[in-house]
Assembly symmetry: C2
Homo-oligomer: 332 residues x 2
């Protein structure tokens, strides 16, 4: 910076002002300093600024699985808010590995980011507490930890399940099946609760659970075959899959065997995965609004950074049913 | 660090050694320092280390569109290599906006990352030169700039087009169509060159171009309708789409109108997009090997950081045809 000041013929303080608060300087001064910067190839050092107490403008986001479009939506929603407020988002990806989450959060800690957004798969209490112990603020997205002392942004997954079951009953289904994995994944467990609540409030509607080995296409193929193997009288007439990919594969297996969707059986997903757009029979689903989740998380985090005494909040986003062909009566 | 040294009863230099080169210290010393670190909640400051000349272990990756699975594959390939070599990957997303690429690269510059991986959409010469002017090394992925003075990792898109056209001809197609956008996108232009070269070398095979407004599902719906509107004698019997999503939509439109794929017409994509898995008729495509691209880019970048005199290289990955139902004769 000394070189820049000499080259521009101004004081060191003026260079600092131009680089950090150009709006407060005379345009002519800004031009002179900028020209000197260009001539010298000077790049301000944000690491040095952080050491002399200047606030960092980096927000770190760690996601559990960048291969899942929900997390890309979260990143984009967060980035839109952060960019408008002069912050830089950097993204790290756990690649479906809990240990990497810890490594990435430690990295954010060690590089003194202004704050952290975390979209985990499992209970993040230990990781968030470790960062908080070092004075680093975290907002958790898409995971509801018991006793959280930090801010959380959630989709109301229980309500998503309730919407799904109510929709199928409204479209005439009486024998519902809920397709999920045996493993207790929080969004799946909560959606199942909502499905159960809807069914409990309706007369003459039954519900059975169908467990699959995974929530990918293979799991859906398994589920489709299991449905086909049931005697016709026992076969569900409405299927809710906790994941769209699984639902889409079920539609393919049923259609391939001559069971028509939606005429013979209604099928829907629950997580609005863009990778499961549905092909021949687009799939009804429940929108997760990942972009809203990311944006809300970023807003809350910046509010807390501006006012560290602010108590943590819990922001819940309402899901929304998106009806497509897989549950719509065909136009006659 | 002074506090840690006092707490552990060792010198400042010992603390530094334990934190940075634990393998060179006595296990007992490492344990004492680590215990002190835990008691004090000390987090090493990577920004401070960079100021005293310690090499950064951060690699910045900016991608043009994180919503496209190719870029997620690139990130994962790079991360696997970097993690093994003790580097941290941070990802930024241009969100299909060239201006943001510049901002993100400047950010990497200002935070003194060790090196940059860049997966751009357009010619990155200006951005790469600016970074090089500040001594920062960039490896460019998936874009071939004329006169590049930096290392580049590419898929051979010309060969991808050649493979596609040769495959359709082998499967019996004689009237080929190439579906793309009017805009001159480098991968599309190169694939078209390869298609043309294959057709030029074959007897009795014709080729026409079909331009669509975009390379998403909507563009494919347009293309499907355009194909249907042709008199049957003029209709192509083999279609190569520069993008899989577009190809998948064409299959749906044709099937919906009673034109059978692959029986009446062969359809294939060219970019191996996981979002286009194909539904009823899985789509033949050409694998882009994004993970290999990311891994090769990371390896080259680390080699150049270790040996700054190393001349830039050009690493070309061979694409690979993946045959699926949309071009396979049905089992009879």
């Amino acid at each position: 910076m000394n070189d820049v000041a000499r080259e521009a013929g101004v004081s060191l303080g003026t260079v600092s002002n131009v680089l950090n608060r150009p709006e407060s300087c005379r345009p002519e001064t800004v031009r002179r300093v900028q020209a000197a910067v260009e001539r010298l190839g000077f790049v301000r050092n944000l690491n040095a600024r952080s050491l002399v107490g200047a606030a960092s403008h980096t927000i770190g986001l760690n996601v559990f699985d960048l291969g899942n479009s929900l997390f890309v939506d979260i990143a984009r929603g967060a980035q839109t808010v952060l960019r408008d407020r002069g912050y830089q988002l950097v993204i790290t990806d756990s690649e479906v590995d809990q240990g990497r989450q810890r490594d990435h959060l430690d990295y954010f800690d060690e590089t003194r980011v202004a704050g952290v957004l975390l979209a985990p798969q499992f209970d993040p209490t230990e990781d968030v507490r470790r960062l908080a112990g070092h004075g680093r603020r975290t907002v958790v997205l898409n995971h509801d930890a018991a006793g959280a002392t930090w801010s959380t942004v959630l989709i109301d997954n229980e309500h998503a399940g309730y919407l799904a079951a109510s929709h199928l009953a409204e479209r005439g289904a009486r024998k519902l099946a809920f397709v999920t994995v045996a493993e207790q994944l929080q969004p799946a467990v909560e959606r199942r609760l909502g499905v159960g609540r809807a069914v409990a409030g309706m007369d003459g509607v039954s519900l059975r659970d169908l467990h699959v080995p995974d929530l990918e296409i293979d799991g859906g193929i398994d589920a489709g075959r299991a449905l086909l193997s049931l005697p016709e009288g026992e076969r569900p007439d409405g299927v809710i899959c906790v994941a769209d990919l699984t639902g889409m594969a079920i539609v393919q297996v049923l259609s391939g065997a001559g069971v028509r969707v939606p005429d013979d059986i209604l099928v829907m997903g629950c997580d609005s995965n863009i990778n499961a757009w549905g092909g021949d029979v687009p799939l009804t689903t429940v929108a997760q609004h990942g972009d809203e989740m990311g944006a809300a998380g970023a807003r809350i985090l910046l509010d807390e950074l501006a006012d560290p005494g602010r108590p943590p909040t819990r922001h819940v986003i309402r899901p929304e049913l998106i009806e497509r062909a897989s549950t719509s009566p065909r136009s006659r």
